[in-house]
């Protein structure tokens, strides 16, 4: 079978999964809702309990799971391709942590009252700063330098987030660190969907535009440049990728908190199915990320005992083994 057909088939399977889980996520929840009645009520504009639960509670949450999961998966795949490092992930590199810090600084200090757009902008600024610091720290350093810089950056960002949460006036703020460090989609609204959307669209387009360059980069920067790709400077591949990932991660983390490991696990699992070609991995990683987060969100809702589990806890349970495997593989190649 031609590899293009294989990728197409993979995308079709993943898309079917996303659509199926999307429907299931609307239908299943804590309470039993007659889906067909609720749908009729929504279409008729009646504010019945079922209609409100599906249209106002479950729909924004499900849409955000698709968007946030997709963005994390895609930016993981793009960052891994760009840095030629399978351990790159917005969470591990501290980009998500920076975004959370930016969002927290806007949300709790009341800057958000000025304009609702301040929230994703805060996330974007945080993510961009983190990415800039990371690039500055790592330069052409190898995997270990990258991981060290990422670990330092994310714990620093987490500490600053905790500090901000302690300093702001709300008595509840300091208990909400878990939401920002682990992520959750509980009680999100359509406002969150709208403020997240522009960053998601622009970020996706920017990152997808770098697909061919990522292929060329598998052979190194010099080859990529000699094949006619501009890597640095305005409009170069680096700008497109860093800005795209920061836009996507920044606006998603601003509404959902930093959900870890999605960007690590999804490309890792899908890479062998795409012939290890970075450009082929992008769309499947988006769909796979959506799928994973939809699934995690449903599990979180259905197995709820006591207060709801943070989404990031589940993704970490899934992602940490992958991370460990990668570390062991790295150890083998180093020694």
């Amino acid at each position: 079978m031609k590899s293009a057909h294989k990728t197409l088939l993979l995308n079709a399977v993943l898309l079917t999964g996303v659509i199926g889980l999307f429907g299931a996520s609307l239908m299943w929840g804590e309470t039993r809702v007659m889906f067909s009645h609720a749908l009729a009520d929504i279409l008729a504009g009646r504010h019945s309990a079922g209609a409100i639960i599906i249209a106002r509670l479950r729909l924004p949450r499900t849409l955000l799971a698709v968007m946030v999961g997709g963005m994390l998966g895609l930016s993981g795949a793009v960052l891994q391709g760009y840095l030629r490092n399978p351990l790159a992930d917005p969470g591990i590199l501290g980009v998500s942590g920076g975004a959370a810090l930016g969002a927290v600084s806007v949300f709790y200090t009341g800057l958000m009252q000025v304009s609702i757009a301040a929230l994703p902008l805060g996330g974007l600024t945080g993510a961009l700063c983190a990415a800039a610091v990371l690039m500055g720290l790592v330069g052409r350093g190898g995997t270990l330098v990258l991981l060290l810089a990422g670990a330092a950056l994310s714990s620093f960002a987490a500490a600053l987030t905790a500090l901000v949460l302690n300093l702001v006036p709300s008595p509840y703020a300091s208990f909400e660190i878990m939401h920002w460090l682990m992520g959750s989609l509980t009680d999100r609204t359509f406002t969150h969907v709208w403020i997240c959307l522009p960053g998601v669209v622009c970020g996706t387009l920017l990152m997808l535009s770098a697909g061919r360059a990522l292929d060329a980069l598998t052979l190194g920067e010099d080859v990529a440049e000699s094949l006619g790709f501009r890597l640095h400077g305005l409009g170069g591949i680096q700008t497109r990728i860093v800005l795209g990932a920061a836009l996507a991660v920044g606006s998603c983390v601003a509404v959902s908190g930093a959900i870890g490991f999605v960007g690590l696990v999804v490309p890792h699992l899908l890479r062998p199915l795409t012939g290890y070609q970075p450009s082929r991995l992008l769309v499947p990683s988006f769909l796979g990320g959506s799928l994973l987060l939809l699934l995690a969100d449903m599990v979180v809702r259905l197995v709820a005992v006591g207060p709801e589990l943070q989404l990031g806890v589940l993704t970490a349970l899934l992602g940490a083994p992958v991370f460990f495997t990668r570390v062991i593989m790295l150890k083998r190649t180093v020694s």
């Binding site: 804590e30 504010h47 309990a49 106002r56 509670l57 709300s170 509840y172 208990f175 006591g306 709801e308």
Partner: protein, 275 residues
């Protein structure tokens, strides 16, 4: 010269109140009772929380008296004659007061409206103003009697929904306020699913007649923004929804009766809006 005059003036209320014991309060509820009962100058310190208008009805008055963080060190340093506190908080500071020779009063939280006159008298006696206490307690009892309505099993239901989705259960002051205003507590009725938190989805699927949004705390947080979720606005529109400032029933005070009035009005509106 100006400094001497100012110093002299500052001494006047102090000398007046000399006969009365000097009182420190370590708890928001005793803070407010103290503010209502004590002579000015009698108060050594109240907690900083009393100046927060989200939590305290007497926040304005609290600005004119000194504040004291409720720590043992502060209690020892200010050596008051009477220390007022709650039963659960600042235990070490209260112990320090006891060892320093002060009379220490630990006031349990008010669980019902009828607890309140007794609490007023306890504080009034301890700080040496029993007459003022009697006036306040009598006025409270009279107003309570005029407001209370008979309970019935067909009373509408009401849920008290607070930040993070916490719901008020039986055995608390707000629960008693609901009963006096003619509401059945939704949380008690849903008892078999009892947890202290209710998800929005559950609340909308099995809605109470009245949703009371119990806003507390300044600033912005995810916990607080939950109460502004559009789904709640849509599911509990008009007469089915009431914003009630938490400070009214956070402590058992004469002002707590204002919440009974608000709820009785809400019940009236519900009956009017019913088809």
């Amino acid at each position: 010269m100006a400094a001497i005059v100012a110093g002299f003036l500052a001494c006047v209320p102090l000398t007046q109140a000399l006969a009365l014991p000097r009182v420190a309060s370590l708890n928001l509820c005793t803070d407010q009772l103290l503010l209502m009962l004590a002579e000015p100058g009698q108060i050594v310190g109240i907690t900083p929380l009393a100046r927060d208008c989200w939590n305290a009805v007497l926040c304005e008055q609290a600005r004119h008296v000194p504040v004291l963080r409720p720590t043992a060190e502060n209690v020892v340093a200010s050596h008051p004659d009477v220390v007022l506190g709650g039963v659960y908080t600042a235990a070490v500071a209260m112990q320090a007061g006891r060892e320093g020779g002060a009379q220490v009063i630990a006031l349990p939280p008010a669980r019902s409206l009828t607890d309140i006159p007794g609490q007023i008298m306890t504080v009034a006696n301890a700080i040496g103003v029993p007459e003022r206490g009697r006036q306040l307690a009598t006025a409270f009892a009279t107003r309570l009697a005029s407001l209370s309505v008979a309970r019935s099993s067909t009373d509408p239901t009401a849920a008290v929904y607070a930040a993070n989705g916490f719901v008020t259960h039986a055995g608390s002051l707000p629960d008693d306020v609901l009963a006096h205003a003619g509401f059945r507590n939704y949380a008690t009725l849903m008892g078999h699913q009892a947890s202290s938190r209710f998800s929005m989805e559950l609340l909308i699927a099995q809605p109470p007649d009245l949703l009371i949004l119990d806003r507390s705390g300044k600033g912005t947080s995810l916990a607080q923004s939950m109460l502004d979720h559009p789904a709640l606005k849509q599911a509990f529109a008009g007469a089915h929804h009431l914003d009630l400032p938490a400070r009214l029933w956070l402590c058992g005070l004469p002002q707590t009766l204002d919440s009974v009035v608000m709820l009785r009005n809400a019940r009236h509106n519900l009956e009017m809006s019913a088809p």
